[in-house]
Amino acid sequence: MDFESAVHGEGIVKKYKGFELNVPVLDIPQGFATALIGENGAGKSTLLDILAGIRLDYQGSLKFFGKYNDDDRENNPDVKNAIGYEGTGNYYLPMWTLKQGREIQKLLFKNFDESKYIEICKQLAVPDDESKKITDLSDGNHMKIKLAGVLSRDTDLLILDEPASPLDPLMRDKLCDMIREYLQRDEGKKSVLFSTHNIADMETVTDYAIIVENGRIVEQAFVEDLKEKYVVVKGEKVDEEAARKVLYSISSSNYGFEGVCLSERLNELAGLNTVVEQATLSQICVAIMKQNSKLYGVN
């Protein structure tokens, strides 16, 4: 499927000791929610930091909204302000209260809508008492005010690093709603990029998936396409050995096996007694991750 890129990157390389992020080409589709999926340490946060301009010691070139490069992002406030980034770093000073947190955002961001911020905080059930210290908040509440901050700005691209992790299931659902709402606000203009390892929880809101493994992108496509490309195959114990050669990943029990398979290779299973079902995103991701993971070796 053709699409416009909110972010287009070429030859992005960032080396750490014993780890290298290497992304030859990167495209974040405009107008959609993109999930960056991968193991811990796969390079998700590094990639998001690079896109958001939180790390600048990388090689490669970036293009934002089809016209701005990464120097523009640093020098042109319009570009930087159009990107809302929520990261895992030390966001607030230890003694800052909720009120100071709000005020600093007012100072820092020209497009910060204070009334909207208060409204979102209310929706997310952030404690009312503004004299409370931010560091005293629970992880969940901390994430909520970060999200409120980023959502109450008039941005064109949201980059969220693990937004769902500290939230409870109810709030995750709420988060999905908010992302949907954000995308609809200005039809086709706004994009969201978030990283997660909770694929199942965010599946409802994911349009496009990028799977990162060991510093490299191993699969990227729209979720619908992925679901056409991969299917789940179930079968009986007797056929397991024959199916193992074709299936991506396989989990077996006493009664039978279940695995993910490329649709195009389904015909190789002809003759076996199998049932083919549509795969969920998390099944696909797990299969692909297993295939590439260091943990499992060559499966």
Partner: protein, 580 residues
Amino acid sequence: MKRILSSYKVFTPKLYRILGVYLGTLLMVLVSLLFMAMAGRPIALLVTAVITASADIFLDLFVFMGVFSKDFDFGLLRNSTEGLKVLKAGVLGDQIRRFLQIAVVMGICGMATYSYSLENGFMTTPFEYGCVIAVLVLTIYTCNTLVLNFTRKHLNYAEGLPGQMLMTAIEGVAVAGVLGLFMKEGGADPLPLLVAVTVLAVTVTYCMVERIGNRYLLSFGGKKMERFGKDNVKKMVIFLLIAFGVDFLMMPVMYLGFQKDIDLSVFLVAQMMYPACGVVLAKLTSYNEGKLPKFSYITILVTGIITMILAVLNVTSPATIDANGQAMTVQFLIANYVIIVGTILLIIALSVTGKEQRENAGFRFHNAGKSVLFMALFFVLYFARVIIICIIGGIAEGDMAGAMSELTQIFTAEGQGMLWLNVVINAPLTFIMFLGEEYGWRYFLQPVMQKKFGVLPGTILLGIAWGIWHVGADFLYYSDGTGIQMLCAQIVTCISLGIFFGYAYMKTNNIWVPVMMHYLNNNLIMVLSGDASTEAMQGSVVSWSDIPIMIAGAAVFWLFALTPTMRGKLSSKKGETENA
């Protein structure tokens, strides 16, 4: 202003804490006023000064801005292009708050002791008294800023307290020294000191704000400034501010001394340290320099600061003593010892520093054979120049035999052996001064100038700048009423020496070569004039007709402008060493 206020408001905890800090220091003043009732009043001023200094540091705990703490990575600030501005405004606000706090407290105490001080002849005029108070305020502010900055950088806050106590104690001694200067009969003149401490206070404030900005930019992975090419500009600005800015700012102080007819030799010693101090500060505040020899750098910096303070004291409270039949100011004598101690420390520092650090700082002794050869060559050329000038002088005056005998005097006259020995012995004891200049000119500025203007034009422009840098000394020290001629002669000398020094440095890539040459150049004058004292350089009369002769003599150095190295372009290898 509005930005500073609003930024500061966000960064600091609630207003009552700031008020608390003010009340706290005022409380301290009450204590000292009590003290004043008991003891002599000028002492009370001193006590207040020390108390204010410590109160400022300890009460800082209540309004501490976490941006200074080691573990804060500037989080949210980095998401906005406004981040740096807000941060700097906030830190500047903090500095202003601290300055006001000290000024208010010292002001109140100053008013309380005002009438007493005037009646008892402690100060003569209200203006002078105001100056003393201002000097105290600025001294405390500067010292405190340094103490806080240092502890915030290296320690977390709880660990910092003992260190701060210690440093406050040292600071107390400094403040007491400042006050003591004025207390005695016919005390020091506060005006030059006020100028000096104001400069220091502004510099320190600037550094404080810049440093936090630097850490902010570093948090992006260390490449932000490099990416946008700002780091080299910043380094250059710091270098120029110190090497030339401090140099020019000391001139009014020097002039005050000149008017009072005080010996100004110590200014020349201090002046020689500024360029190196500029480079050291520029390199230390930059981040892509790799490992640096901190011990050596601090030695250079401290030597520079002490000699500068001595230069100021030389004017504010001059005292002359007689050393070996030669009248010199106490400060000049001390400065000489400081230089010797500094040089010895530098030798120790260099010998314990690793190769990598020395390489990064450009202190390594590259190309030893070629280097020694160049030093010898300079020695020969130096005398070639002297001979040429002698001969031309002889021809002009029609007294060739006289000129020749003058020439042989250099080697044969009585006492010359001692002077030659002096030159040899002093070298390992005083070379820090010559490193002080050459580190700035040849190591730091020359590659930049050559890159910007081409090899030869860059070298010549550097010579002109180097000559102009001497302007204060030319008018107030070297010459007697012929400042302009002296300046022109100086520029000619600097361009010619600059060409040869520059050539030697390019050929050897060894900073010690120009350092040694510079040493010889300055010290052989004593041998030439047969006079070991500083008077050899002082108060000479230069006429316009001397300048063409100088140019002719310097031709031996100008010849090197014709070498392929000077005429050519920078090779790529050279370019690499420049960036390093």
